[in-house]
Point group: C2
Chain length 409, copies 2
């Protein structure tokens, strides 16, 4: 079905807010097989909104609108959509009850103008909103459909998951199942090459790859007559993907690598400590992003200078002298030293050149990731061949996470 | 002047890319006094692009287009814009030279299809592109103006700064000067209250506040007949702002706080070390974001557990027992301990509850920032009253940066 997305809000036209709602909905709609043809952004102006709704309905059949459902006089999306589709508004009792409950729960007085939000177009499918005050709705008339969402991304996403998606699934001939598989340690083009026998000529399930700073995500999707068939097809394809690329996969459920690492460390009652040069605390900070991280990390070390590597995590001065500070030997000594200084089970380290500059004979993007776990010590050599400091530091941090993941998985 | 922004690119309609170009340009245009009325996104489809250009020109006079200037057959923005505005294309010699130089410099072979990028509409103002291969251009006809930019945000911004802005300034009756002042340690509404005597009833210069995770930015802008007058008006208003809110200001030139801190540390030949509990390395990592940070930070400590605070930065066990681990006394001991363990000039620390949970008698968002510099030791008490882990950690990190800034400024 041909689809348009219209965002209503002057703050978007001022450039104060980025239209992430349109990206979110486009991604979801494309995955369901809807054909998104246009995005529009228009201010809180009834005549211009009306004109864009007409333009969108001129060559698309489904419009998703975000924003303009609030309690103020400026919020006119619902009114204009109802008018354009020839529907009156009625006071929806459930919406009114929700609204009252929302204010009661917070011990707040409900201003008169909030009542406006409990009105919905006659004949619509209400999308009641437990994440805010404004309900959304879907309205179908003469083969044209409009779905209205509140503007705040959190509320829009909540209504998508709790009503809008199911409503749109009713317009799909087939049932769709998909799985998001996450990998690290292989570039997008190499991963595509590896999976070429599966991707080539494949129509269902489909396999799509998405690159994301140093990581690569795979989406395996199937549309079949029943959900069981779709699930079975995705499961079978996932097995084939695992056979070819299993060593790079760290999640079959779209988890973040730091979440996976903290989860496994907790399960296995293990602790980790880092000694970080180029990343300077990014690894430790990423571990601490996950609630409850204090169970698995007690201390870590930012060892930027040579002296700090010697003094704070006990790297032998001779190691640095003999092999250089950016070397496998120094990386391993840092990992073992961090483990000892923190009294942790696992030590992990990085020493390298974040860029834009590097010492003579080296290049920005060169690094060594060291690890130490029981008798198992070793290193990974990394070379991004990039001079972008931020990109390199993020990539080194991901490779540290991967090193730990491979030790404990 | 009424303005539309049209982004061309199927990747936007797939939801793979967020349309940050539209926000960037909207922000800049609004600040220059242009009235942005619509954003459109359309795929790489000539007929639909043509239709949207016509719709945009129907009630706006200026269109900024991004994307679709590349070398492939899909890239048709230039061709459609030229057709719609009745201009032929010609081979631009400067563009051709730039293109050849681009490939020569990289030792790469220039494929035949790249030549396409050196063609421009007759009568346009070329916007030569030193940041990529595709030049942009501005084309005016019968009171309508189209400006085309390449899609990659880096190139689009480069062309904005190096040509497009100056071109559009020609359409402004007045000259504009503005300054972006950055503050930390005060919320947006408090800052507005503080500056109310200046903001109230003020038409030129204007003062606008923007909140950004834990920080607040002020934009002071003036439009006058000459640039000298505009600059003088902004300077005068900046002095008044400084009188009222000077203690919160850390940059008059839109610098990031970590950049300011690293710059001053370098100038004063000082080094800093952190002991981080809730932020777990974010402060150190933010310092290391700035190239050359190794001059000002040699080591830092992630001291998540009580034992780590005792073992790695020498906090007396009695201090933690007597005052609690989240206390001013522990924060100060951590800062002094980090300084000693790192042999640095300045120590800074945080101990607090990132959330979502906190120990009994405390709440998420409560933290103490400790500092030690010469004989000057002390702390800041922070309480965000929020339970959002990411928000709190980021805010604590900013307050650590601010603590260092106040010591050295």
């Amino acid at each position: 079905m041909k689809t348009s997305i219209i965002a209503v809000g002057t703050e978007l036209l001022f450039g104060q807010t980025v239209n992430t709602n349109a990206s979110f909905l486009s991604d979801k709609l494309n995955h369901m097989g809807f054909d998104v043809m246009y995005h529009f952004v228009v201010g809180d102006n009834p005549e211009r909104l009306r004109a864009k709704i007409r333009e969108a309905f001129a060559d698309t059949d489904l419009i998703l609108l975000t924003g303009g459902l609030g309690p103020t006089q400026d919020d006119l999306t619902k009114e204009i959509v109802a008018e354009e589709m020839g529907a009156e508004l009625y006071l929806d009792e459930q919406a009114l009850e929700d609204l009252k409950a929302f204010f009661d729960k917070r011990g707040r007085y409900m201003a008169e103008n909030n009542l406006k939000q409990a009105y919905l177009p006659v004949g619509c499918t209400p999308l009641y909103n437990a994440s805010g005050t404004a309900p959304g709705f879907a309205l179908e008339k003469d083969g044209k459909i409009a779905i209205c969402f509140p503007g705040p991304p959190r509320e829009m996403k909540w209504l998508w998951e709790n009503g809008a998606r199911a409503y749109l699934e009713g317009f799909m001939d087939k049932k769709m199942f998909y799985r998001v598989i996450r990998t690290i340690g292989i570039g997008e083009s190499d991963l595509e090459m590896l999976l070429m026998p599966l991707i080539d000529g494949q129509t269902d399930p489909t396999i799509a790859t998405y690159a994301k700073e140093g990581e690569c995500t795979l989406r395996v999707a199937s549309q079949r007559d029943t959900m069981e068939e779709a699930e079975a097809a995705v499961r079978e394809m996932t097995d084939k993907v695992t056979e070819l690329a299993g060593e790079y996969i760290y999640s079959y459920d779209d988890e973040e690598l730091n979440e996976v690492v903290v989860r496994i460390l907790k399960e296995k009652h293990l602790t980790v400590a880092s000694a970080e040069s180029a990343t300077a605390g990014m690894f430790a900070s990423r571990i601490a992003d996950v609630p409850g991280a204090s169970e698995v990390m007690h201390s870590s070390f930012v060892t930027y200078s040579n002296e700090s590597k010697i003094r704070n995590v006990g790297v032998p001065a001779e190691t640095i002298e003999k092999y250089g500070v950016v070397s496998p030997e120094t990386a391993v000594a840092m990992a073992a030293g961090a483990r000892a200084a923190a009294g942790a089970d696992i030590g992990v380290s990085v020493t390298g050149y974040a860029g834009p500059e590097a010492d003579p004979g080296h290049n920005a993007g060169e690094a060594y990731i060291g690890y130490a776990f029981g008798d198992n010590t070793g290193f990974y050599a990394v070379n991004t061949s990039r001079s972008m400091r931020k990109w390199n530091r993020n990539y080194f941090m991901l490779r540290m996470l991967r090193a730990v993941y491979l030790l404990i998985k």
